[in-house]
């Protein structure tokens, strides 16, 4: 089911109504069924894939827990079963075509006539998200950070809980399951807060992201050769804004929908476009993925033992024990290449990941220089350098081929490419206005809040007008015209 639809709103009203009407365990059964219905509204048959993943981890984690710690080999083998099944599913549905296609290219290059059969398979919605959740669950049990859940109802609900099922935030079992097991009592603030978050999310999706989308499509459909450097910068910023509105919209709605039932799921965004470094950017952007990558890839690859499990904080946290420089850098590049591939089975995503790794690597290497020159530690200065670089990274993320990415990105280094424009003036104008508003909003958010606290009448009036405008716009634009971008990952 897609959030930006009438069906979802009706579904949510029914589910929330039932949730607060039903007693303890019946609530959970209802939520499990509702989550299956939510997923089944896309394709029923793909529910089985999700349950294969969930059941595998349910049983292996119990088996790991019941195996004495000294029997390391059995525990490790059980963990491998989980990894093989989950990563196998992910490989089959997401990467098989990519792998065979590249293998065939390689076979052609070495002059072999043999070709592997190419099979195009429909990617099940949310597979990248729920497999990461199930893997993290078993790994946490293996690490001794979590006791496995005996009730399949509770565990099944952790995997399928509909608000975060298709595009995150990627939840940790240790954070969600206790909430599911505890009986929550109705509070008006759940309803009020949840509705606000859903409204914000729908506004970002149906009013902003969906209306930017045709402009981005138009720009990226142009021949890369015909674009100017200003066009490339504009498209980078515009797509950066589109994906931010789109993805943060999903997270707002997910957080809001869960909140309606008194359940807290982690925040995924925290004004990423005011980050003053790439490291900070990844503490503000897709925080739950960064945290996952940190705990299950980056730290283990760096040789650091993970001591806690949380979907918050983003990448770069928990580095109290510093690994060796070589380990850190190796882990950095490997992690980011995998992070890129996680987003999609295309070399453009790998390039995107490696681009981030290179910039973070350079940030680290430049630290001694930055420490000696105060200007480099000026927040505005650092932001002004970080933002264009971060936005430019969206070019390979959105471009169809590596060739297109290189052609477009090379334009920004050619002075003569700055002498003309290739798109309608409105696109530059819209991009500039939106970026300015997003930045100002982030800058003013906390400051206005502090001022408003002292002036309750003004604050309430402002809130009423703001919410009324949001309601009108969401009502006018609500239609499932496009999926959320992260559904394809």
């Amino acid at each position: 089911m897609i959030f930006n639809s009438v069906t979802f709103i009706v579904f949510l009203i029914l589910v929330v109504g039932l949730f607060w009407s039903l007693p303890g365990r019946a609530r959970l059964w209802m939520l499990l069924i509702a989550s299956c219905v939510f997923y089944g509204f896309w394709r029923w048959e793909y529910l089985s894939i999700m349950f294969i993943s969930a059941l595998t981890d349910y049983y292996t984690s119990l088996a790991i827990y019941n195996t004495p710690p000294e029997n390391k080999r059995r525990r490790r083998n059980l963990l491998y079963i989980t990894l093989v099944v989950n990563l196998g599913l992910l490989f089959y549905f997401k990467y098989l075509y990519f792998f065979t296609d590249n293998a065939n290219t390689l076979l052609g290059t070495i002059g072999t006539a043999y070709r592997l059969p190419l099979v195009e398979i429909l990617l099940p919605f949310g597979i990248s998200f729920y497999t990461f959740e199930t893997i993290s669950y078993t790994v946490d049990v293996y690490r001794g950070l979590l006791k496995p859940e005996k009730s399949f109802l509770n565990y099944g609900l952790f995997v399928t809980f509909f608000p975060k099922l298709v595009a995150g935030p990627i939840q940790r079992a240790a954070e969600l399951m206790p909430q599911l097991k505890t009986r929550t009592y109705f509070k008006w603030e759940f309803l009020e807060w949840g509705i606000r978050r859903i409204l914000y999310g729908l506004f970002l999706k149906v009013v902003l992201a969906d209306n930017i989308s045709p402009l981005v499509d138009e720009g990226f459909a142009m021949a890369p050769d015909s674009l100017s450097a200003l066009d490339v910068w504009t498209l980078a910023f515009l797509f950066g804004l589109q994906i931010y509105f789109d993805f943060s919209a999903y997270s707002h709605i997910a957080v809001g929908a869960a909140k309606l039932m008194g359940i807290q799921i982690p925040e995924n965004f925290n004004f990423p476009y005011i980050a003053a470094s790439f490291k900070e950017f990844w503490k503000r952007w897709h925080i739950s993925l960064s945290a996952w990558i940190r705990d299950y890839l980056y730290l283990p690859l760096s040789g650091v033992r993970v001591m806690k499990t949380t979907a918050t904080g983003g990448i770069g946290e928990s580095l109290e024990k510093q690994p060796s420089s070589f380990n850190k850098n190796r882990a950095l590049f490997l992690t980011w290449a995998i992070m890129g591939l996680w987003h999609g089975a295309r070399w453009t995503f790998v390039f995107w990941g490696v681009y981030h790794a290179i910039v973070i690597f350079l940030e680290r290497q430049m630290k001694p220089v930055r420490d000696n020159f105060p200007v480099f530690n000026n927040r505005f200065f650092s932001w002004a350098i970080t933002m264009p670089l971060a936005m430019l990274s969206w070019i390979p993320f959105r471009a169809v081929t590596l060739q297109d990415s290189f052609t477009m990105m090379s334009k920004v280094f050619i002075p003569s490419s700055y002498t003309f424009i290739g798109m309608r003036e409105n696109i530059y104008l819209i991009t500039a206005i939106l970026f300015l508003l997003v930045t100002l909003n982030a800058f003013l958010y906390e400051r206005t809040f502090k001022v408003f606290v002292k002036m309750p009448v003004i604050r309430s009036s402002y809130n009423v007008v703001k919410l009324a405008v949001l309601i009108i716009l969401v009502y006018t634009f609500l239609r499932p015209i496009s999926q959320f971008i992260y559904f394809q990952f």
Binding site: V10, G40, M222, L429, I471, R479, I481
Partner: protein
């Protein structure tokens, strides 16, 4: 105070209902807004009052073919154009457009004049239109205006090509990159209409082939049928965008006289389409006359002077390279034969209309075109 946030939300809901009622009260026809009060759409008809001029292709093209078969299956002079062709400023009784005059003039000489004009038509759209008519009618001569304004456009707009899309029309010579590009766009349009997509389906693209699609459609249909305010949402969306357009113009002081820049990449794509039209005409034995259409010169041009000169030069050289006829008629219609258009910003002041002239302008244009056409038909 505990319930204040909930009260805020409730008040916001009530306020939004009140505002929605205000917004959803008046129907606006956007086509009328685009042409303005002084300008009237006019489609040419032949002496027997049969259609010889179309804008949309939602079956109207069949009427043109019928006219042709009923009127003796003469050779055809095909006129392509934009809203200048199908509009008269300050229309009076018995006024007509230049296409009507040409039609009468050539009817007696054994030629049928047919016209297809669409607002803001780019040369890419002209290419598709020409390729279609070339295969439907015995086109002897093509009359093609090239507007600088329309070279800022790119691609095809499906609303004007529904008839072609339904027939799976494609440009025959698909080797040229421009033909490939346009055929790709036609295929894309066809793919969405072949599945029987309606405007509602277009709004539900994300649900295509999902279980949710049927449920969403039923709910939407029910809401459409029972709540005017729901069915009226597309109009409100249009009003909002129109409001933004006016707001932008007000903020930046933009009106019809504001100088607009050429977009080099789009201009080049359109000029390639022009080359393709002329090459296709030549290979089919169709004579072509390309002309720079009239624009008002009693006031400064809404373009950079140098860009305008190089635009004309670029068209002239491309036409020359294809050995087609070229005419520069941009100063043909004097200032008094033009008019004004509705305001495009919050000032409410009428603005200069650079595109649509009065009947006298149409008369001058047809008088100027006749000798050009004659010379080509004689060859």
């Amino acid at each position: 105070m505990r319930f204040l946030p909930a009260i805020e939300l409730a008040v916001a809901f009530i306020l939004s209902l009140f505002l929605l009622k205000m917004f959803f009260s008046e129907k606006v026809v956007f086509e009328d807004l685009a042409l303005g009060e002084e300008t009237t759409r006019f489609l040419a008809k032949d002496s027997a009052n049969r259609p010889m001029h179309i804008v949309e292709m939602n079956g109207e093209e069949q009427a043109l073919l019928k006219t042709w078969s009923e009127s003796g299956k003469d050779s055809v002079v095909l006129v392509l154009g934009n809203s200048q062709t199908h509009s008269i400023n300050q229309i009076k009784p018995k006024d007509e457009i230049y296409v009507s005059s040409l039609g009468k003039h050539y009817e007696s000489r054994g030629y049928k004049v047919f016209c297809h004009s669409i607002p803001n038509a780019s040369l890419q759209e002209f290419l598709v239109m020409f390729e279609y008519w070339k295969h439907q009618l015995p086109v002897k001569l093509l009359l093609l205006p090239v507007f600088m304004d329309d070279l800022r456009e790119d691609g095809l707009r499906d609303v004007f090509f529904n008839g072609l899309i339904a027939k799976q029309f494609r440009i025959g010579d698909s080797t040229a990159p421009i033909a490939k590009k346009l055929n790709g766009e036609l295929s894309k349009f066809h793919a969405s209409t072949a599945s029987g997509e309606t405007a509602t389906d277009e709004d539900m693209k994300a649900l295509h082939e999902t279980v949710q699609e049927n449920v969403e459609r039923k709910m939407n249909d029910w809401l459409d049928a029972h709540f005017f305010a729901w069915a009226y949402r597309p109009t409100v969306r249009g009003e909002l965008f129109n409001g933004l357009y006016n707001f932008r113009n007000t903020l930046f002081g933009i009106d019809a006289s504001t100088k607009r820049k050429m977009i080099p990449a789009r201009m080049e794509t359109n000029l390639r389409a022009l080359e393709q039209i002329l090459a296709s005409a030549s290979s089919s034995g169709v004579k072509a006359i390309v002309y720079i259409p009239p624009i008002r010169h009693d006031v400064p041009l809404p373009y950079d002077e140098n860009e305008y000169i190089s635009f004309k030069e670029a068209v002239r050289s491309r036409v020359g390279a294809q050995h087609a006829a070229f005419a520069d008629l941009d100063t043909l219609v004097p200032g008094q034969y033009w008019g004004m258009k509705n305001s495009t910003n919050a000032s409410g002041k009428k603005e200069l209309d650079y595109m649509h002239f009065q009947y006298a302008g149409h008369k001058l244009l047809s008088d100027a075109l006749v000798p050009l056409i004659d010379s080509q038909l004689k060859q």
